[in-house]
Amino acid sequence: MSRNSENGWRSKELPYDQVIEKYPEIPPIVALKIDVSRRGIHYTQAALDRVDPDKHHVEPYNYMIGHGKNAAPIGLFLRDGSVICQGDTPDYSKAYRDPYTLDVVDGRLVLTDEEIGKVYEEVTFWDRPDFYDKKTSNGTPMCLVASARPQRITIAPQTKCHFWDTPGEGCKYCALFSAHRSKDDEGEIRDEKWFQDVEETTREALKEKGRYCSFHMTAGSTLSGAEIFDDEVDLYIKTLHAAEKAFKTEKFPVKLVASAFSKKQLQRMYDETAITTYTTDLEVLNPELFKWICPGKSRLVGYEEWKHRLYDAVEIFGRGNVDCGIVGGVETAQPNGFADEDEALAAVLAEAEEMGRHGVSFADCVWNALPGSMFVNQKTPSLEYYVKLALGLAEVRRKNGLKIYTDDYRRCGNHPNTDLARID
């Protein structure tokens, strides 16, 4: 018996159909996206048979995680144009809940809940980026230089997060770059050849007309330098300068998700590169839980300082051009998190409101207890919680007159609360 078939989770929380009835202000398709992100997706053989690697976007490995596995799709389109950034979960026997199923019914690729026996939405696979078949003049396959979502190109200048250098100091929900966690592993090498590869890959990607709306950069944190993160800033600047050669304008839509830089570092990035928006992730909007869940960030920067760096960023980039990423739901992780979902929600939204008043927008990721993370065996919150969180954060944004740009449904696509900004 698997964990999810034994624990009776379905009887302990409101199912999707009742949640959308109870909260008529949540678009059913957004609630479905949240639930799928929370529970995961299992592909049937019929669905896998629909995958055409020459046509669809498949990854031979997960670009952002780095473990080798069979080539498989990494995301799906819903019919409102939004995306679900999840691939197949082949083994879910240890997960708290069983996943949705991607199946073929009446010739259509659909999301279903097998146990309920209901078909929810028709979906399509993402298309393969044209640059994936190309190589740089150095002979590097471009699919190793950059990855993509349907409307963004992604470059990870650093595939190692140095918070893991001190054992136990990485963020507990995080599976990013988990192939490079040992102290001696420096991640992928970024030499002059690589920067040239970045320029050529970006140039090639831009040949695909109508594909990309945003240039995304993120990496693990680099702590070294005269001031903490100085080397990370240098690396981003150098990478951006390489990519900038492929553009004719000085500024273009860049989604940068990085460490909490000091005001001096941010000013430098703004003055010297194409960026006009900035995202840095406080992850969990509670100082005590931040200390427990993100011990490296807490020890080396601290909750209040991280927050103040967000406020400093607003002074440089402007209200609504600075986003704080959060792992929505992780505040309920046990044993130290909120045991009561209502209390958790009230605390998170009160803190979000304070930050919203300072001009910070939010990008809410649905916490999913991922393999490769320390929280792999945790129970994530109910769908009802995630729906109320997305609605609450959307209200904070509206109330404070904030926009959302590079973390929105199109330039990113992974945040239910920013999907809701489509109709603001």
């Binding site: 678009p27 059913p28 398709i29 957004v30 389109f77 019919r79 409102d80 144009g81 995306v83 399509t124 993402w126 298309d127 349907p150 409307q151 695909e208 007309k209 109508g210 594909r211 199109r410 489509r422 109709i423 603001d424």
Partner: protein, 157 residues
């Protein structure tokens, strides 16, 4: 969802670049919004297809709102020879990325060289009716014969 079929005459009226096409939608707060949308056509399945060229436009928001909550939007077509058709429908699909979208992106640039296609909406039809005055006048006389000023009915002295 709608599955109303339209006649070839109406398809031709909608696809005629000389026709004036106006789209009415409602925002999430209930505000009405009515604007011309020259890029409304009929697709191969007989559904309305419209290119939204402005990502931040109120219509884009309202049509997404309609798609999300199964609400109707309304379109009026006025042909060069002054026939008028009102069409209502529910948006069922929005393409904002992918190869199919990219084909439309290039097509939109052929139509308007500087355009930057935001979305391609597909709208299933729920109601279609001709709104040209002579047609509506005849219908009114048939359906509501009592709606008339008496002087029109006055006898000879």
């Amino acid at each position: 969802m709608g599955n109303v079929k339209i006649s070839q005459e109406i398809i031709d009226a909608i696809n005629d670049p000389g026709s004036i096409k106006v789209l009415a939608s409602i925002s999430r707060t209930g505000e009405l919004h009515v604007v011309p949308k020259g890029t409304i056509t009929v697709n191969e399945e007989g559904n309305i297809r419209y290119y939204e060229l402005l990502e931040g436009s109120q219509t884009n928001k309202n049509v997404t709102f309609a798609l999300w909550f199964g609400r109707k939007i309304a379109i009026n077509i006025i042909t060069p020879d002054r026939r008028s058709y009102q069409i209502k429908g529910i948006p069922v699909k929005s393409l904002v990325a992918g190869k199919e979208y990219q084909k439309h992106y290039e097509r939109a640039m052929e139509l308007i060289p500087d355009s930057d296609l935001a979305a391609v909406y597909e709208i299933e039809l729920t109601d279609v009716r001709e709104e040209s005055y002579p047609v509506r006048f005849a219908e009114e006389a048939r359906d509501n014969p009592l709606y008339i000023h008496l002087d029109k009915l006055a006898g000879q002295a």
